[in-house]
């Protein structure tokens, strides 16, 4: 199997994600699109894994704690040779092993997830055991969601990892600023996020999480940090955009649950992806894109604010609203006064 560059792999994750949710009616395409670059850089440039020997002891460990973005991992594993790409079509289907949330019944998956707030603790346990056994050649990478950081257990793991100086543990927060019903800051305030991690003793790197160069540099810095002994665990706060890559899905909470339906939603999602398709990669579903895509009409639900704070007008505290980032745009700034 040809090894993909991180840019190619990220694009394939996005394309598979759109197809898999379209075919299955599955949720969480917004999260798959936000995390795609993190996962792609990890699999293409950072982690040592062996598709021929998924349980290889010398492998880096990986946990997608925000298990609802499972399609991203399935796509990355299939495109990296862990199982046939054709199996991706069975996502959500009767009898499939590709559950909506990540399942360890697939080669290359270290932990089943789906209930938030477990992954960082399990990752800390792996890192702790590896360190106890003197196996410092392997690192443990855990991707957590920013909404997931509502869970108290995330911070219990953060305390533990610092206390035991788990410098072989790298947490990556897919900080897309949104969760199930709204923006983070309209749910439970988490800013100043970086300061919180610092206060818990972690080495903090804050980057644009959809930028591969920044991701590569951050993982490099994390690796250098892990060479120091004893030292802290590293968290990479990867500022991403929910729905990144498909502009009409960006920053729109609707696409946490909605799947791209037949018609303009699917056609336009594919067309948008084809606009950013890197060289040397083939679209396995629509190799030449969609010739005459169905386009949205004035009555279609596009570019609207679907957040909880938008619909819950009567008493929603004005000061809790975000000031920037409108649905369908790529704004990353989310302030609270």
């Amino acid at each position: 199997m040809m090894k993909h560059s991180s840019e190619q792999l990220a694009w394939l994750i996005r394309r598979h994600g759109v197809e898999m949710t379209h075919v299955s009616g599955g949720s969480h395409i917004g999260a798959v699109l936000s995390v795609a670059d993190i996962v792609a850089v990890l699999y293409a440039d950072v982690m040592h894994v062996d598709p021929e020997n998924p349980k290889w002891e010398g492998r880096d460990r990986f946990i997608l704690s925000k298990g609802h973005a499972g399609a991203s991992i399935y796509a990355a594993l299939a495109e990296s040779g862990f199982f046939p790409v054709e199996e991706l079509k069975t996502h959500y289907q009767n009898g499939s092993r590709l559950s909506g949330h990540v399942s360890h019944h697939l080669p290359g998956v270290d932990l089943s997830t789906g209930s938030l707030g477990h992954g960082l603790s399990v990752g800390a346990g792996m890192a702790y055991a590896l360190k106890k056994d003197g196996k410092m050649g392997q690192r443990v990478y855990v991707v957590v969601g920013d909404g997931e950081c509502n869970e108290g257990s995330v911070w219990e793991a953060a305390l533990f990892a610092n206390h035991f100086r788990l410098n072989n543990l790298v947490a990556i927060v897919d900080h897309n600023h949104m969760q199930s019903l709204d923006f983070n800051e309209n749910t439970l305030e988490i800013e100043d996020f970086a300061s919180k991690w610092k206060a818990f003793g972690w080495n903090v790197i804050e980057i644009d999480g959809n930028d591969h160069e920044e991701l590569r540099n951050a993982f490099k810095a994390a690796k250098e940090n892990s060479g120091k002994e004893p030292h802290k665990p590293t968290v990479i706060i990867a500022n991403t955009i929910k729905g990144c890559g498909v502009p009409f899905m960006q920053n729109d909470i609707l696409w946490h649950y909605r799947f791209p339906h037949k018609g303009w939603e699917y056609d336009c999602a594919v067309s948008e992806l084809h606009k950013i398709k890197p060289e040397g990669v083939t679209d396995p579903y629509t190799p030449d894109g969609i010739a005459n895509p169905v386009l949205p009409t004035d009555t279609d639900d596009i570019g609207n604010d679907h957040t909880f704070s938008y619909t819950w007008n009567p008493t929603y505290p004005e000061h809790m609203r975000r000031v920037e980032a409108t649905p369908g745009e790529g704004g990353r700034e989310h302030h609270v006064d």
């Binding site: 298990g67 499972g70 289907q93 009898g95 559950s99 789906g114 938030l116 509502n150 439970l188 909880f308």
Partner: protein, 307 residues
């Protein structure tokens, strides 16, 4: 079923300002009617079920009637000790609501299969456990737990459940509901699996069998009287649940039967056979795959009849 719950709760909350609904960051599209109509009685506690549940206990101890809302195992197993210590032990007026009992979220994977919740909730003292079987039961159960003083667990399906009962007179916590009179054997059903039970009944009836059928919207406290009556009159009792056969509704029935000095019936439990569902798929598919759909219920009953 969840829409019936939300609609009913809106009606209750409009009349009673002490009713509060707290969600663990779930209910996109579903809870909208509630937060629009009762905005001052609504809170999103974020993805933090332990805090949500203990916080609900605190609100309840200050006089509120608090419904906590989430899906699958999140409002129960995720925060079990908060349910046990802070809610049930303090007899706090917290109503734990789970959307998606059993295989409702079948395609999402094992984390979202709620198949041990009845057993675990039922083992807590001072806990009322309800699993309505259709939309009418869901509405009645919602009203009943809102009026009840103390901690309750309400296990709901999601959508697509039928309205099977015409209406229910004098619905009470702790009382089973007779659906069909009959003889020789009884089918007892708890929760949304009632769909399958009703389908199985219709086919058995066509083939000339005449079972008694009861639904148990309340699993705890269990209706001993109905179980004892069935156990005295029938050759065997079949319990149906979309749940592990260990500790669930069938076990609750078996506990009553085991303590009877004299009975005729033995027990056959239909449910998930003490395993995790590693396969995924639709609710209907998984019910078939794990032997608890109408077809499986009929097969199991015929096997007993032919013994």
């Amino acid at each position: 079923m969840r829409d019936t719950f939300v609609r009913t709760l809106v009606e209750i909350a409009k009349k009673d300002k002490h009713i509060e609904l707290v969600t663990g960051d779930l209910g996109f599209g579903v809870l909208k009617p509630y937060w629009e109509q009762c905005p001052d009685q609504f809170t999103n506690a974020g993805i933090a079920e332990q805090n949500m549940t203990a916080m609900a206990a605190g609100m309840a101890l200050e006089g509120k009637t608090v419904f906590t809302y989430s899906i699958g195992n999140f409002p129960t197993l995720r925060c079990l000790e908060q349910v046990r210590n802070d809610c049930a032990y303090h007899h706090a007026n917290v109503k734990v609501v789970c959307v998606g009992g059993g295989f409702v979220y079948g395609s999402l994977g094992m984390s979202h299969h709620a198949t041990e919740d009845i057993a675990i909730m039922r083992s807590l003292p001072d806990m009322v456990v309800m699993a309505p079987g259709d939309l009418v039961e869901a509405e009645e159960a919602t009203k009943a737990i809102a009026a009840y003083q103390g901690t309750c667990y309400l296990r709901l399906g999601r959508g697509g459940e039928k309205r099977i009962h015409e209406k229910i007179d004098n619905f009470q916590i702790g009382k089973a509901i007779k659906v069909h009179d009959g003889e020789r054997f009884a089918i007892l059903s708890a929760g949304a699996i009632f769909d399958e039970v009703q389908e199985a009944y219709n086919q058995l009836k066509e083939e000339g069998f005449n079972p008694m059928v009861y639904t148990f919207p309340t699993i705890k406290p269990i209706d001993r009287e109905v179980i004892e009556k069935c156990a005295r009159e029938c050759d065997f009792i079949v319990t149906c649940e979309e749940h592990n056969i260990v500790g669930g509704f069938g076990s609750a029935v078996s506990e009553v039967m085991a303590e009877m000095r004299e009975r005729k019936a033995y027990l056959v439990k239909v449910g998930l056979n003490d395993q995790f569902a590693t396969k995924v798929g639709s609710q209907k598919y998984l019910r078939g795959e794990y032997q608890m759909d109408a077809k499986a219920i009929i097969e199991i009953i015929k096997r007993e009849l032919n013994k």
